[in-house]
Amino acid sequence: MPTASFPGYFTSLPKISEFIKEIATNAGMDDAKVYQIRLAVDEAFTNIIEHAYGGEGKGDIDLSIEPIKEGIKIIIRDQGESFDPDTIPQPECDVSIDELKTRGAGLYLIHQLMDKVNFESDASKGNVLTMFKRW
């Protein structure tokens, strides 16, 4: 199972994207789905840096990507603050451009892009985000 650790900087994002792209493409995932996984992982990393660690350079993020029978499984771990995603409201798009609060689609996109998303916080293991995308 390919695993890598990335420093919690936004400059890691293109490297993470390439890492996912290579493994998912070689595993046989089609281009559109590879893009969707890359985007979900990018959103997750950005949130961890910004919200769990509270900024860049506060900690590493571990990524593992595992092609399994039904699809590709992604596990992302960090040692930052934990949070409960169920408390986060969905973004609205039924509003005019002036009313639009221009933030907050990351979590929403992750759920839309991936077939399964699970978030767990554990005092010893830290935060673990597990995502799954079908072939």
């Binding site: 936004f10 400059t11 994002l13 293109p14 994207s17 281009d31 559109a32 893009y35 969707q36 890359r38 985007l39 990018d42 959103e43 950005t46 840096i49 910004e50 798009c93 451009i97 002036d98 639009l100 221009t102 933030r103 689609a105 990351g106 929403y108 996109l109 839309q112 892009l113």
Partner: protein, 110 residues
């Protein structure tokens, strides 16, 4: 990443290449703000060179649209790749921004 701006009679074309993510979106944000500060409020964002857009990029685009509209102008986008288009659709961008198939029709819409 590379941002270029070109002024036409009725609109400004901004094009960028590479990724628009948490790392690079502030530069795009600045480019849009500069156009608006120059008194121009019609923007064509040419995404022909863009190969990845995270939600940060989407917000930059929507913020720029907000500012254009407040100045009685408009931002439109063009040359969006299929993968990016799908994610923009998920985020509901088309409710707020016109998407043109090519830059001529985008520029020609002003």
């Amino acid at each position: 990443m590379d941002i270029n701006t070109k002024q036409y009679k009725r609109c400004t074309v901004v094009n960028m290449s590479g990724r628009i993510d948490a790392n690079t979106s502030p530069e795009l944000d600045n480019a849009f703000k500069e156009v608006l500060e120059n008194g121009k409020n019609n923007i064509v964002f040419d995404m022909s060179g863009v190969d990845f857009v995270a939600s940060r990029g989407i917000w930059v685009i929507l913020e720029a649209q907000k500012a254009c509209k407040q100045a009685n102008g408009e931002l439109v986008i063009t040359n969006v790749s299929d993968n990016i288009l799908k994610s923009l659709d998920l985020a509901g961008v088309k409710h707020f921004v016109k998407i043109f198939p090519d830059i001529v029709s985008a520029v020609g819409s002003f």
